[in-house]
Symmetry: C3
């Protein structure tokens, strides 16, 4: 372990082998940090909260939480979590492995997140959101949940696997972004969407099939993005995408 | 008092009884913090600034400022202020009691805020804004002030009591959001609005009376929201709302 | 030098004369801070990163970095840099003198910024952006770069000198905001623009010449803004603007 002398670590916290903890970081009581994880400076890990029912914060192995970040107790993050700086992550989140959370993002808790999800900078995930595997969400996107604010009704947003939501879009309460959809920048989406389609505008309208968008370098289709974008994914997953691709081509 | 040993507290600061101050927090000279208030870790309270004319920062009793927050000197917050994390609050703000300021919100100072106002996460309040009692402002809303940027003209926004501004709306310089209005998500509002109406779009248009919106659970009207949403308000205020409601029904 | 005793300063860092460093701030190895510069509390200066190729962070003289800010190694900022709080500034930025970066702004690195540029609060500058001299960018503006996200194609945005981008606008990948343009609030801009014109809407359309907009106080044209807004600029630059103005008037 490599713990900076100014870090304040509760004796009750469970800290795995080879964990690094930066200067001035505070680790509270109800926390388990798995091996080979790095927590940078000025973080607070395991903030207690009456909404977490005493459940602990679990951070999987090989994770990297950048400086000035805040995690509440009561959430689970499987292995290889990576964050930017100043992320705020509340209670009651169940997240899969290899989640990336960009700088300044704010996860309000009470939500489910799949594997290999990428949240870019300054993304706001409202309570009761459900986010599938391999989803991409870009800067200044907000997933909302209150259909007539302020109220006690919570209608979370669903984002299905491989969907992409571009910069500064608002997903309205109860909306579903279906598998493989692309939501263009600066859109506002309500209700249901169809799989693998592009939606744009405020209110958003269906534009075309995502597969109609070509790469700028003329090297082929831009969507599904799994055809050409593999950075940061494990070889096993990329191989699966390639195999599916061959099968799809065979069917044509 | 419960002051963490790493906190740095000016001897000139006035700290009431039963105040808690978290690790690594800095309290500067020109500050008065009232009794039973909690300031969490990594805060800076009372940052000095030539624009504050040497006026102090006053934080009322029973307040709770969450970690990584920054308050300048020269503002007044009455009792029961509650903030999220990383709020930035500048000089020359006069705020009533029971104000809530969400995580990452940025109050640029030189503004007036009523009682029981709720600012959700990542709200930006430009200088010269006037916000009435019981207003709700949701994430990524910006209240602007410069009609032809950059200029030396400052036309602040007015938000009247009980108005609601939904996610990611921009309120343009000099606009007035009238009493009881609902501004739909992702709107852009200019000029005057009529009381108790819904506005939506960019540029926003008048859609209908707010009272036409029904609760999703069919239990009645969604607006005025005081009919059904009472969480966090004192019993005396809720009773007043209920009494007015009966009178309104009697008139029908 | 005025270094707070809780600051953690690498012996390898080069610190000029009369530099002030606030409480709990961390200065890493690969940093040069020039004379008369102030770094406030809770900052991290010179975060190491494999993308910076070992290049140092250079901060010019007479700069002021406000609290909770993070700068990576591998960028250059000439004299008189001023930041708000909690700015995040990544590697491979070349910035001119007198840059202002507002609270919460996020510069993703790998970009060029001219002299006298003003970024207001919560501005997001994507990689490969090029920003000319005397540009103004207002809150919640995002400069994007990926034409079909996620992809390996990076088409940065160009913002030419004296252009103004108002609140909560998205500049789409590869777009050029031409010299002296005004982008109205809540717009979404694609492709090329013409010099000195106003664009508004999502998608943005050309509205009129910027010079058609008059100041609210009837004192003249609002654009070019150099006619009436001089706060914070050096006398030599303002004199140049005034001389050009006289020449333009002479030609009429």
């Amino acid at each position: 372990m490599d713990i900076h002398p100014t870090a304040i670590i509760s004796e009750k916290a469970i800290i795995g082998s080879n964990v690094k903890i930066g200067a001035y970081t505070i680790i509270y009581d109800n926390v388990e940090i798995s091996e080979n994880t790095t927590i940078e400076a000025f973080c607070e890990i395991g903030v207690s909260n009456h909404l977490s029912n005493g459940e602990k914060l679990y951070i999987g192995s090989n994770s990297h939480i950048r400086s000035h970040s805040i995690f509440y107790e009561g959430s689970i993050f499987l292995d290889s979590l990576i964050t930017g700086h100043r992320v705020t992550v509340r209670e009651k989140i169940k997240a899969g492995e290899n989640l990336q959370i960009g700088t300044l993002s704010d996860l309000q808790g009470h939500c489910e997140i799949g594997n290999f999800v990428r949240l870019h900078s300054n993304v706001h995930i409202g309570q009761h959101s459900k986010i599938g595997n391999c989803v991409w969400i870009f800067p200044y996107v907000v997933l909302t949940n209150d259909p007539h604010p302020p109220s006690n009704t919570m209608l979370g947003v669903t984002v299905e696997e491989y969907a992409v939501i571009a910069t500064m879009s608002v997903i309205l309460p109860g909306a579903t972004i279906s598998k493989g959809c692309l939501i263009a920048a600066h859109s506002s989406v309500k209700g249901m969407t169809e799989e693998d389609m592009v939606y744009a505008g405020s209110p958003a309208k269906k534009i075309c099939a995502a597969s109609k968008i070509k790469l700028k370098d003329d090297s082929g289709d831009a969507y599904p993005w799994t055809k050409h974008f593999h950075r940061g994914y494990p070889d096993s997953l990329v191989k699966k995408w390639m195999d599916e691709e061959v099968q799809t081509d065979d069917k044509k």
